[in-house]
Symmetry: none
DNA sequence: CATGAATGAGTGTTCATTCAT
DNA sequence: TATGAATGAACACTCATTCAT
């Protein structure tokens, strides 16, 4: 009877090893060997679960989405709609080391997906997930009467997405500090969202 | 008498070869050899003009800035302020093939500068140039009374920059078409800029 | 189960390949590729056993010391002190093909360690081993009353070392034949060592 | 009419440039380019006088002999025989920076001549010059009755040569300081030379 | 005579990948 | 399943040398 191995579990272990390597040596430092050593495996063993370096990185990308989504749910629970929106968006800004690492990985994949269609497919879920979140936000807010009058929810979703991703890029580049990112985000939310505590 | 060679011209040729390689294989695909082949030179010949790979990439980054700035100047001349603003910003959105190419180069360098401080320094001029443009726009508009009331020019410059770069990323990823980008840009400008023809 | 390989054995194989390359092309001719070809391996395979060129050379230097020491022990066993001294010193003179080869290796490393501190460290054991031998000889002879009167054992050790290394150099250069080297060595030993069979 | 150039003068200029490079970057740092830059010439210009790198180094070797001989003559003039002998021999020991550089070059050529017969020929003059000096010393001293009784002038010349070259090697290796070298040299001279002030 | 542009093989090293065990 | 030995091409960079001008 062959040994039973949980492939999915193994892949997650590997993805986490990839992350640790990225944290330590930067994204350029990711090599099959380095990941194997980090995970405490032999180089050959990786091939059973992740055939190529590309898949290795892709698994790290999948982990990215899982982590961000999980953290969003954890941190927006129980919040009022407006605060939940702000909290959710903050989860994709590089406001601390954890999110900076995620952002660097997000960015690396964004770049790669420009020249590698296969990465692009894998990566689509990340982009679409974020766009969907923005759509939900503007649509729900519109339904709740909290979107500023005259704004098109679809256009606003795209604009919000652009603002957030643009801020993330600038933050990752070290050209914008945490306070700066939050100031812009808050200015933007203030503008597109009605003041909810509107009178009686 | 030795053959006379215009070093600056050669460097430009090389920078263009670097661009072609980046477009084809991504920035990761840029190797000294690949650039030499692309330019039709021998590998050793590169050293006369660009000593290291770093310089090679830096020259490609400089070319980017030169081109965008030149085109902005060409296309905004003679326009009214508000139209000039829109025209200038459009020059960094991937609205046609030429700008898509530039955007891909911009993106590659943005990504790379995240993990390579040296690239980061060389690349700074690109980021700073764009940020400065945004600062000029919001400050001038504020001085002309065309910035919407209650907005902080500095924050708005950062927000505008974020919107534009975010749009560029989404456009480059093929997740947003030209019309979409323009719709968001126009929505944004409409919101932050006063209608100037609003007298008594 | 992976192929089992004796790393130490491999390193010795490699060290011997390094020797052959040094003998053929000089130490300057030692390249990772040349050694790989000489050993009949692929370039990449070397990295399993000897990570860098430095380690490659170091292993060749270690082999030198091992061989000379082993031969000295083998050939001085059972000899009377004075004959043992002569026999030991003869082991570092290029008196036959085997010792000429070793001498060439010794010389190459001596030269190289002049300009490369790292090599120098690795090579120290060779120099120190020989100096220690000379120290032992003069000290023991002094204790046995066989050192010529008025001589300082420490200075004599250094002088003996100089004579032997000088002879080795001249022999390696082909400027001195075996008989010449032995004549000088014997003259030197005759001078510094008392005639032991000198009683009443 | 072609420009008249003193080739010999040029070669000397180059040899001195080679020396400066050796002093600055070590012997490994000698490259055709480095020498050309140091001499203030173009790389191509070297070819007119010194076709290959080998010739470049050979010219530096010739300079070596000239310098040592000139210094010996300068520093032994007017000295009593015994002091002149000591002074002459000191000129080939690495007792100061100038002589250390000479020694390093001497050693490099000694090494090279082991594997490159052509260098060997060029280098012969250096070895033979030194051996001849030693022969002169022991023969003259013997004729003057200052050689210790029972010593064979020819063997003693070879021994003296070996001691001096051995000391030079050890000094160059940094394993023997100036005082140590002089102590050994003096011990050796004391032993082979009669005390001259020993009348009746 | 002299230039310096140009060549292309060479350096040590790293790497993703393959495969016999 | 799992190992790690082995491959060989690729990397940036250096170099002695050639040659058109």
């Amino acid at each position: 009877m062959p040994k039973v191995v949980d492939h999915e579990e193994r892949r997650r272990e590997l993805a986490e090893a990839v992350w640790r390597v990225i944290l330590r040596d930067g994204l350029e430092g990711v090599s099959v060997r380095a990941v194997a050593v980090e995970a405490g495996w032999s180089t050959g063993a990786l091939r059973h679960y992740l055939g190529t370096k590309e898949e290795l990185l892709a698994s790290a990308a999948r982990l990215l989405e899982e982590r961000v989504v999980a953290r969003m749910q954890r941190r927006t629970g129980g919040l009022a709609p407006r605060e939940a929106v702000r909290a959710a968006l903050c989860e994709v800004l590089p406001l601390d080391e954890e999110r900076r690492v995620e952002g660097a990985i997000w960015f690396a994949f964004t770049d790669r997906s420009l020249v590698e269609p296969r990465i692009s497919e894998e990566y689509q879920v990340v982009f679409s997930g974020m766009r969907e979140l923005c759509n939900l936000i503007t649509r729900d807010m519109a339904e709740m009467g909290q979107l500023a009058p005259g704004l098109d929810p679809a256009v606003e979703a795209a604009r919000l997405h652009a603002v957030v991703d643009g801020l993330a890029v600038h933050g990752l580049l070290g050209r914008m500090d945490e306070a700066g990112m939050l100031a812009v985000l808050d200015a933007h939310l203030a503008e597109i969202l009605q003041n909810s505590e509107a009178p009686g």
